[in-house]
């Protein structure tokens, strides 16, 4: 297997489009005939009150959540996602680190290869652990690592999969503020060039690392897009424009939350 460039995905990242997608939970529509287009090679954030269906939408794109017939999830213009089928283009990163407690950091990073019965590329895994700042913790069991370190291992595992699309479900929400800022920066740097969907309830996180922000609200949920300050990601949280947009987003989210 030839060594690939680690920071950029091998081929141009495909975009994702959803059309007419509906999902019911216990008879109630979480969303109905929803359309969404996630631009290729960019990070799109999905904001909204909890319980609105953000995670379900992400799981649906990941192929983990079956949806109502009639909807379509298309990846890369040619691959129509079948409901309940996962795609080889997607890597998934959840709120919990989901590290296997019986595998050390290196074993967790190379988990995907072993699940597919491939030979794990240990050199690349070590290199990725180095990039997330865990050079000395290759053989540490997850229980001995701090929350931030564990989530870094999870990030390295996500990168190890080397997929053009990354779906992240509140990946940093369980971390303390400082660790979260560091990891956002690291993720933004290492995942540049890929198509990312970031589900988050933190407007500042969305403002820091995404190029598009969608707000999901109501029942059945509707999507609307928010404006973003100019400039490269990761954006400085102290920047006046970022703070201004943050206030604006908070206002929109609280009105969204007030709606029945």
């Amino acid at each position: 297997m030839p060594q690939k460039t680690l920071s950029a995905s091998p081929q141009p990242a495909p975009g994702i489009s959803l059309s007419g997608v509906s999902l019911r939970y216990e008879g109630v529509y979480l969303f109905k005939e929803l359309d969404l287009c996630l631009p290729a090679g960019q990070c799109s954030a999905l904001l909204g009150p909890s319980g609105v269906g953000k995670s379900s939408l992400l799981r649906l794109i990941a192929g983990l959540q079956p949806f109502e017939p009639g909807g379509r999830v298309t990846i890369a213009e040619n691959e129509a996602q079948q409901t309940g089928k996962t795609s080889a283009n997607i890597a998934y990163m959840a709120q919990q680190d989901l590290l296997m407690p019986w595998l050390d950091a290196l074993g967790n990073v190379t988990l995907g290869a072993r699940l597919r019965h491939e030979r794990p590329d240990h050199a690349r895994a070590r290199d990725l652990l180095h990039q997330v700042g865990l050079t000395d913790y290759q053989h540490a069991l997850p229980a001995t690592l701090s929350g931030g370190m564990r989530q870094r291992v999870a990030l390295a595992r996500t990168l190890m999969e080397d997929r053009p699309i990354i779906l992240m479900d509140e990946p940093f929400s369980a971390l303390d503020a400082i660790t979260r800022l560091r990891l956002q920066e690291l993720a933004a740097k290492l995942l540049r060039g890929r198509t990312i969907l970031l589900v988050t309830h933190d407007p500042l996180e969305a403002l820091r690392i995404s190029q598009r922000i969608f707000i999901m609200a109501g029942r059945p949920a509707r999507l609307s897009e928010a404006t973003l300050p100019d400039g490269e990601t990761p954006r400085d949280p102290a920047d006046a424009a970022v703070l201004h947009h943050h206030a604006e987003l908070l206002r929109r989210l609280s009105t969204a939350d007030a709606q029945p």
């Binding site: 996962t86 959840a94 699940l115 597919r116 229980a143 999969e161």
Partner: protein, 254 residues
Amino acid sequence: MMRVLRPVIIIAGLIFIWQIIVWLSGAPHFILPAPARVAEAWWAHHATILGHAGVTLLEIALGLLFGALLGASSALTLAYFRPARRWLLPVLVASQAVPVFALAPILVLWLGYGIASKVAMATLIIYFPVATNFYDGLRRTEPGWADLARTMGASRWTLLTRIRVPAALPALASGLRVATAVAPIGAVVGEWVGASAGLGYLMLHANARVQIDLMFAALLTLACFAVIIYFIVDTGLRRALPWQPDKLPAEQEE
């Protein structure tokens, strides 16, 4: 230091209470022999006792082996094949409605007075805790792990062998601990119903000949072996599963 001392103190305390009961009740030695008398009897018959203990030990070990293998493979079958869950799970539960003790005479009838019937008894007793605990563990795979494995392209079989089984090993371990604790019951009950060797047989035999001190000596030997087997299995399981938290958070402060 206290770890070594504590069991010694506990045993000394129990023997002391035993002696006090003997003094206070004034029970004759053929009802409740004093500790010293039992020790004497043990020493006088130690070759016989240890010989019988060896048989019982072999029955327990084989019962543990077969019971664990059968229990674990049943749990895997139930976890992997959906129809098996619907058809076998009720059978598994119903099988436990029959008291294993009631089966002992039948097993002796079918398998004879040798160790086969006792191994079968022990296997039956061990099977259930191993099967149910392991199956429970397999059923409770963290859903996030399953999601992650699916996005990584794992097949159902790989998900089972690489994620669900390792994740369920602590549950299997607790099943094995329970099984180890109850295994001697199976072997001894089998020996009571009909045998020509084993500690259960020796106890019954001594009882019939009013050698109560010998009976107590055999009983204490059985208890010692049961504790030692449990200790060995427990230590082995801890070593095998180093990632499993060993202590409750409250205990760690000690």
